[in-house]
Symmetry: C2
Subunit: 200 residues, 2 copies
């Protein structure tokens, strides 16, 4: 029975809700923001800084191996970012080794690949993601659909770049996941119940 | 309850077996080769010709709309192929309108889009597809893994081209499906049971 589950998700697709519901059903730990909290405790770094680092890749165009192999001169922002990624990876590994769990985002599927996690990717079409953002977000009422779409695309672009930088794989490419679920026009509750059957 | 299910599948991924098992579980009709049989009955065309047409696109680089819009001079092989696609589409529509069913391949997800089918895509990694071909195929024993890999890639390339020609969408792009399932290292029986929960 595979009980380490990683979730990649498009912004607004309901991936977090899938994760929470699945964690409840399977009675396993759920880690998302908890990873940032733990990192803040260990490093005294400000939350806003950690979140900003999570949303960007360290250096444009150079994959992590190249930056190291060619001995690029020390670059403190880069070093800080790599250090945050490294510490987050350690926290993720500790969490996964401690107990069965669900981990959202943060390249966990790649970091934990030797533990053979069940790798989920949650996505939806743009209309559905906009509608979900409006349902969930208090500030969404103040922006137009076009602005919301731009925000969604921008966040997903950052996620894709971050993932690609550290894993050298394409974010959202189905080959890297065991199951890809389109949440368009479907209740998340129903989806979580169905996903459970893939895992147990 | 959605009871029209379309299945796109990589060669060797077990997509047909998923379809058959799912049809049994849901007690609905299953159409795959049956579409070719029906077409042969209606047209008197040879099976080998129909199968060959299904495996290729009519004209390189020109999408179906362009070929028609610009009034390209009559091209009998092209006309025959378009006619076969049209008749297959009609058969698929008749089948879907007759009763709940599962339809494998043949752009059924696109042809039946107004009926809002549940669109599945089944895939697997290359090692797993080679292993499955060896399990299933009597002639597979005579070929090397490399030859088998080339055969798998060539069939999937044809499927992708055929699909893209008629639908102007990318075959296997998760955006066009409701659920994409990686069958690598997993029993098809278990997968079929889990997929059922997404549908009922």
């Amino acid at each position: 029975m595979k009980r380490i589950i990683t979730i990649g998700r498009e912004f607004g697709s309901g991936g977090r809700e899938v994760g929470r519901r699945l964690a409840e059903k399977l009675n396993v730990a759920y880690y998302d923001r908890e990873i940032v909290d733990e990192l803040m405790k260990r490093t005294q770094l400000a939350e806003s800084y950690v979140l900003q680092v999570e949303e960007s890749r360290p250096l444009p165009l150079l994959p992590i191996t190249t930056a190291r192999t060619f001995g690029i001169p020390i670059n403190y922002p880069l070093e800080n970012r790599l250090s945050i990624y490294k510490q987050e990876s350690e926290i993720i590994r500790e969490m996964a080794e401690k107990s069965d769990c669900i981990i959202v985002g943060r390249c966990a599927d790649y970091i934990l690949q030797d533990l053979k996690p069940f790798r989920l990717f949650i996505y939806a079409d743009m209309c559905s993601k906009i509608a979900r953002c409006r349902e969930k977000g208090a500030d969404a009422a103040a922006v137009t659909d076009k602005e919301l779409q731009q925000k969604i695309m921008s966040i997903d672009k950052k996620r894709a770049r971050y993932y690609q930088f550290y894993t050298e794989q394409n974010w959202g490419d189905k080959a890297n996941y065991d199951l890809c679920v389109n949440t368009t026009n479907t209740e998340i509750k129903k989806i979580a119940a169905a996903i459970e059957k893939f895992i147990v």
